[in-house]
Amino acid sequence: MRTSRAGRRARAILRLSVLTIVALLLVGVPLWLVVVNSLKTQPEAAQLSLGLPQTWNAVANYSDVIEKSRYPFSFLNSLIVTGASVALLFVIAAPAAWAFARSKSRGMRVLYALAIIGVVLPPAVVPMVFLMRGIGLQGSLPALILFTIGMRVSLVVFLLTGFARGLPRELEEAAYVDGASKLRTFWSVVLPMMKPVVWTAFIISTVLIWNDFYGPLFLLTSQNATLPLGLYSLSSGVAQATAWNSVFAHVVLVSLPLVILYAVVQRRVVEGVAEGAVKG
């Protein structure tokens, strides 16, 4: 009996070692490369070594990138675009999800089918430029917000509707029988029950919208850059091979907000995504 327990222990240790090595190679080394080289001088970073800096140049690199990329400004733009898009997405999609889940009418079923096509078929960006020029919004944040809503609304309503279908009807029917309006029933009975999926959809859409680069590149002027667009303008402007320190400092600065958010809500993200996947 002892040997088998020892054997099991050995296997558990082996398993953990293999996982640790894989995690180091796939996640540890890439992230370390970025962080450590963002702290070096330009000639030293050009060697792309994983060693600690011989000359620490962190303050100069980061303040240089923050200034050149107008980081606070792009950060604010990213915040506005992500905040406004996500808020509008839920205002549009949450009531609709309940309606799609409950309505038995043919028209509503057709509308739902049309609304979720975007889950697989991305919208076209070039005609959006055409439209935004037509109404004088091209290059501005509202143009990107409108494009983003068209691009993501299908995913959000798809996740929410899948969840709403599984909600019990008794509570909402009781509220309605007691005289609450439909809107009131939705707001105070249905929406609280949808919290788990709203959370999941919020995380997924926030990550996708915050990181989006395709929309901003076509629809924003560089004066209105969001963080990824700022990263691209700066990193494609310099010769990459000679300025890894600033490219990597920029990568850190662009990724940091989401990584911090993730560190705070980590457990809920990992469980929420799995839940959303099962129910969506």
């Binding site: 996982l19 995690a23 890439p30 992230l31 490369l33 970025v34 792309l48 205002v91 549009i92 309606a99 409950r102 309505s103 038995k104 009418s105 028209g107 509503m108 509308l111 049309l114 609304a115 096509i117 697989v120 078929l121 991305p122 919208p123 076209a124 070039v126 005609p127 430029v129 055409f130 439209l131 068209g150 899948g162 279908r165 029917e173 309605y176 029988v177 005289g179 029933t185 990550v207 915050w210 990181n211 395709y214 076509f218 963080l227 990824p228 691209y232 990193s235 990459q240 890894w244 490219v247 990568v251 989401l258 990584v259 993730y262 980590q266 990992v270 995504v273 839940e275 996947a277 099962v278």
Partner: protein
């Protein structure tokens, strides 16, 4: 309202059945104006000479598609887009499946590893591209490691016109595998414990348990993951822009990168035509997915 309540103080729950359209009106408008309208306008623009060089937009028949075929080697880039999509999907899903099987049980160490492997999902694809441009650089850590065995090794991975497309697709796989791992884990959680225990009690090997017990329950997750990765990768853009920018030569110039290039030099109609090709390509590939999602809905 008050009068209605006096006459009919208690409504029947049945009346909750109608009037849903008001709740769906905003999404109807949003989808019509912000999703379908651009797609329709794109069909029109693809057949025009809209450009930055002259005002006015004229119908130009199939000119754009002729240009795409003659000057842009459309078929080659179409093939490249498919190679990228299939590589990204295959590598990403195999990696995710292996990780999911390794991290299936909910032990504290597994929770930690799940969280670690999820980190690349948070990076913007553009940032992920720069990270791997550094790793695959001739002076980068990959060649440094190889040089330990083979001193002076300085192969330019992303400069190889045969390898580049596979490598950028693998960066895509790396970036998303943490997400698909979670979906596979969710699929594995649907396997009944008794079934696994019975199989083990009957002396089934680990492979047999995977092949005959777990795999059937993973089918929905696999179909979902594979289709989403294949179709997502058809619209790839950011990673290539950060690593190879379409090069060397045209070796990684997938359709969306081509769109940007044409748009950037002012050929807007041509860019629309390329977008239309992407739309058609995705539509053709998406039909199996929609069919699958519908079937899953009916089952649920």
């Amino acid at each position: 309202m008050n009068a209605a309540r006096i006459i009919r103080p208690h409504r029947s729950a049945g009346s909750l059945a109608g009037g849903w359209w008001k709740f769906a009106l905003p999404i109807g408008i949003a989808v019509a104006l912000l999703y379908f309208l651009p797609l329709l306008i794109n069909v029109y623009l693809a057949f025009t000479d809209w450009s930055g060089f002259h005002s006015g937009i004229q119908f130009s028949g199939l000119d754009n598609f002729q240009t795409l075929a003659d000057q842009y080697a459309l078929l080659d880039q179409l093939r490249l887009t498919l190679v990228y999509a299939i590589t990204a999907s295959a590598v990403g899903n195999l990696l995710a499946l292996a990780l999911a099987l390794a991290l299936e049980s909910r032990s504290p160490s597994n929770q930690l590893f799940r969280a670690i492997f999820f980190v690349p999902v948070l990076l913007s694809p553009l940032a992920a591209g720069y990270v791997w441009a550094g790793i695959l650089d001739p002076a980068g850590p990959l060649n440094q490691a190889i040089s330990l065995l083979n001193p002076g090794f300085d192969f330019a991975w992303l400069g190889s016109s045969t390898l580049a497309i596979f490598l950028v697709a693998m960066v895509d796989a790396w970036k998303w595998s943490g997400f698909f791992t979670l979906i596979f884990i969710a699929g594995l959680s649907t396997v009944p414990t008794e079934l696994k225990e019975a199989a083990v009690a009957m002396g089934a090997s680990r492979w047999d348990v995977f092949r005959h017990v777990k795999l059937p329950f993973l089918a929905p997750a696999i179909t979902y993951n594979v289709t989403v990765t294949v179709i997502g990768a058809m619209s790839t853009f950011d990673i290539i822009l950060a690593t190879t920018r379409g090069g060397p030569g045209n070796a990684t110039r997938v359709l969306n990168v081509m769109t940007l290039d044409q748009f950037g030099i002012g050929y807007f109609g041509l860019a629309s035509a390329t977008q239309l090709v992407v739309t058609i390509l995705v539509t053709i590939s998406a039909i199996p997915l929609i069919w699958f999602l519908r079937r899953r809905e009916l089952e649920g």
